[in-house]
């Protein structure tokens, strides 16, 4: 891989590959990576054999849980997620749109309790994958793909 020139291989951890260009920058926020002490490498605009260009994220010493992997589906549905042990790919996963997203999205309904109590974390359940529709577990108001993306990317 071309990126080896720029970033060392990791011994243990997770490599998220084939991320659409410039989406990698959103990943630390979605996975709350910066809250921990792990080393994170973000490579933007890497050359790719499969895609024209791609982003890559490497997280040292952390194996992503399935629920975390699935969160990635919102911004990088085609990404491949490799779990690395002793410099080898121990497991490959792909991001599947999750049935439920907790605490990440904000409910667009200003009268929803999740916007009025610090402990009321949002819960969005999947209604349809395509087009994407997720529904608030407290007030039933829906979020579509563009709204979800806008929120996840912080734009």
């Amino acid at each position: 891989m071309d990126d080896t020139i720029m970033i060392n291989k990791i011994r243990h951890g997770t490599v998220i590959d084939h991320i659409p260009v410039r989406k990698a920058l959103m990943i630390p926020r979605i996975l709350r990576l910066t809250e921990g002490k792990d080393t994170i490498a973000i490579l933007v605009n890497a050359k790719s054999r499969l895609m024209d260009r791609k982003d890559i994220v490497k997280i040292e010493n952390r194996i992503l849980k399935d629920s975390e992997v699935n969160m990635l589906s919102l911004i990088a549905p085609g990404a491949t997620i490799n779990m690395i042990k002793d410099y080898k790919v121990a497991e490959k996963k792909s991001a599947v749109i999750p049935q439920r997203i907790e605490g990440l999205l904000k409910c667009p309904n200003g009268h929803c309790i999740t916007n009025h109590d610090p402990e009321a974390l949002t819960v969005f359940d999947l209604v349809t994958k395509s087009p994407l529709e997720m529904r608030c577990g407290y007030c039933n108001v829906s979020i579509d793909e563009s709204e979800a993306l806008k929120q996840v990317s912080g734009e």
Binding site: H111, C112, I113, D117, N140
Partner: protein, 297 residues
């Protein structure tokens, strides 16, 4: 039965059990008193009528009540979070009755405490005990809830009682539901997607009045309109008077969650179709039945 949060929480069998218990209570059959238990009436949004109904129902069962009638009476006004208020109430009450202006407040409360929660109306969509009262009144008039033609008239956009009733009807098989409202107060499209029975939308009450068995009227609030002229026009066109009543089916009934302002003229009260006071009177027996189911076990 533990909580009553949403009008879709209850299955048909549970609803029928509540109705049958309410009927025994109405007939004067003694229900087992529930002593040594306390109900907290937590009305973050004021509603004198609903508060009183829950309070009287509790006392008639021997329950003790505590709580508050509005947010001003609680420490929420002093910056305490909703969650903390719920925890505090849970420490001395066996059941919490919650009224709140925000959607999902009762559901959130049920996740904070293990005490049973009864939703006494929250947000724009849920008022399950009112819907039970509404359908119980229909049952008493027709002997059934299925197969009837319903007409819901008024504020379908913001009306909490209306949304809750239409949701509870998804547990039954209404033949048809006419949704009658001015365009600016029509039912939100997202809400319509959740209905599993035939319905139609219209702006004209006259066009469907001869078709309905149950006419459910709600208040159209002045605040919803940009100006007084527009409001008055709408108000007049949805007013239920003797003329409207004369065009209804013989056995048709009129319901209203009350308080009514001008949407039903007072000379309709004396007609056999006016069931809204009977409906209001069903509040206490239905709520007694709910307390019994939840706390009497």
């Amino acid at each position: 039965m533990k909580n009553i949060i949403s009008s879709t929480d209850l299955g048909r069998k549970e609803i029928e059990e509540i109705f049958s218990l309410a009927s025994s209570i109405k007939k004067g059959k003694k229900v087992k008193a529930i002593r040594d238990k306390v109900v907290a009436l937590a009305f973050f949004e004021p509603s004198t009528r609903t508060f009183t109904s829950f309070d009287v129902a509790a006392k008639r069962l021997g329950l003790q009540t505590t709580g508050f009638r509005s947010e001003h009476e609680t420490s929420v006004a002093k910056e305490e979070t909703f969650a903390d208020t719920i925890r505090m109430l849970s420490s001395y009450a066996d059941c919490l009755v919650i009224r709140h202006k925000f959607d999902g407040a009762a559901k959130f409360a049920s996740q904070i405490t293990n005490r049973p929660i009864i939703n006494a109306g929250d947000g724009k969509r849920e008022h399950p005990t009112q819907s039970l009262i509404d359908l119980y009144t229909v049952l008493n008039s027709f002997g059934k809830i299925d197969g009837l033609r319903y007409g819901i008239v008024g504020d379908l956009k913001y009306g909490r009682a209306v949304h809750s009733l239409l949701s509870m009807l998804t547990t039954f098989k209404p033949r048809h539901v006419h949704l009658i409202s001015p365009r600016q107060l029509e039912m939100p499209k997202g809400f319509l997607k959740g209905l599993n029975y035939p319905y139609g939308e219209t702006e004209r009450l006259e066009s469907v009045i001869g078709d309905v068995d149950v006419l459910y009227a709600t208040r159209i609030q002045k605040e919803r309109f940009p100006d007084e002229i527009e409001y008055n026009k709408v108000k007049e066109s949805y007013r239920i008077d003797r003329d409207i009543v004369s065009r209804m089916k013989d056995k048709a009934i009129i319901l209203h969650p009350l308080p009514r302002v001008t949407e039903i003229s007072r000379d309709v009260d004396a007609t056999e179709k006016a069931k809204y006071f009977e409906q209001a009177g069903n509040g206490v027996p239905i709520r007694m039945a709910l307390y019994s189911k939840i706390l009497g076990g």
